[in-house]
Symmetry: C2
Subunit: 218 residues, 2 copies
DNA sequence: TTGACATTCAAACGTTCGTTTAATATAAGT
DNA sequence: ACTTATATTAAACGAACGTTTGAATGTCAA
């Protein structure tokens, strides 16, 4: 029986190239020829390994973005597990940090994923449902459980969802609108500026959630 | 001398069709043939009136999005001019309302513009600088002036800019990530939900800015 | 009516697209 | 050595793309 082990080489190179090119230019603006050229393989390899271009795109989400999203979520959980009783600001800070400062992903990976998500939101190809159902919704549930103890008791589910969405709005916006933000603020997206952003988001969101609480990390 | 008056007919139909199609599908995914078919004119009309496809795209921003953006900004100003001494929450409420609930634009126009901006951010064709310089930056200046009196005196420019960016992050996110938000919240983007969102954003941002202040509009 | 210009039109240009095909290469099982 | 399944290749397919062309049509001032 033929082993299925060493199939990964060219197939993975295609996934790598597709992930980067789709993130940089969007689904429609990237040709299969570009992808196979970047992956240093034959044009027909995409159709052989993935059936067609669209399925390759979806596979990028399934095999890269979703697993990495789960790792980021896990990193958020781990950050909080270290603290016995995390304060509200700790929860938010951990969330912002996991998504745009540290965590298991490199900055290049974070930017790629943010762009892929932003493009998929702007022009859905069919990957958004996968990400929402497998990453976003579970993360939302977890964040909601973490936040609830710090909020007023009588808060309904929808209000809490909107609050969490607002935190994500800031995180994703500062992550994906980098070009516009750099042009407005006049600052580059270096390590220093990102730390500044995480602190700002933490402070803004903590106050926005309705509980003033000083940050006691460090 | 030939009048230049009645040239507007087909040219405007092309701009209308291009605005809608570019917003729905993005620059690369829309063909000139699609546009001219929707505008009920000949294929060559785009190149005749606008030179090429890219220039038509930029002209959509110059002749539609920028003027409408200025009208929205003006609407924000007018809303505040009605009040002698607007509270902090009034400023934010007026901003959120102008951008996603009421104002001079229809809901379809708002959604189109939000999509065009989101796509241009995700994949810049060359229109973003126009919008930032002609609409965003002046609006930011105005908002900053409105907010400053309500904040601590010693706040630096960059901190204030980040705060304003956070408000815009929420407004634009709730405007453009409609599909994702609907899937997560399980709610449609009808009038009722939008009012809910404006109230939520106003409350969250007002608190986030660091001044608790009750809303006293009706 | 005529001339001059603005606009529209059908047709074709060369290019690139996603996909398919058939031939070949590779390597393990028998 | 032969079979079998997996993988890669060059070449071509039809379709759609943005753009150009040159003739036809519309529109007014002269």
């Amino acid at each position: 029986m033929p082993k299925k082990e060493n199939d990964g080489v060219a197939k993975d190179r295609i996934l790598d190239a597709a992930e980067e090119l789709f993130a940089q230019n969007g689904y429609a603006a990237v040709s299969v020829r570009q992808i196979t050229a970047a992956a240093r393989c034959n044009l027909a390899a995409v159709n052989y390994h993935f059936g067609n271009k669209k399925n390759l795109y979806l596979e990028v989400f399934r095999s890269r973005l979703v697993p990495n999203g789960k790792r980021v979520s896990q990193s958020f959980e781990d950050n909080l597990a270290a603290r016995p009783e995390p304060a509200l600001s700790d929860v938010i800070h951990a969330l912002a940090q996991a998504f745009l400062e540290e965590g298991p992903l490199t900055d290049e990976e974070r930017e790629r994923h943010a762009q892929l998500m932003a493009r998929e939101m702007a022009r859905p190809i069919g990957a958004m449902e996968i990400v929402i159902d497998e990453v976003m919704r579970p993360l939302f549930e977890s964040v909601a459980c973490r936040l609830r103890p710090h909020l007023m008791e009588e808060i309904d589910d929808e209000s809490l969802t909107l609050k969490i969405l607002s935190i994500f709005a800031m995180v994703t916006h500062f992550n994906f609108a980098r070009a516009a933000i750099s042009r407005i603020t006049g600052r580059e997206y270096n390590k220093e500026f990102k730390t500044r952003l995480v602190d700002h988001i933490s402070e803004f969101a903590t106050k926005g959630l309705g509980m003033m609480q000083r940050e006691d990390d460090k």
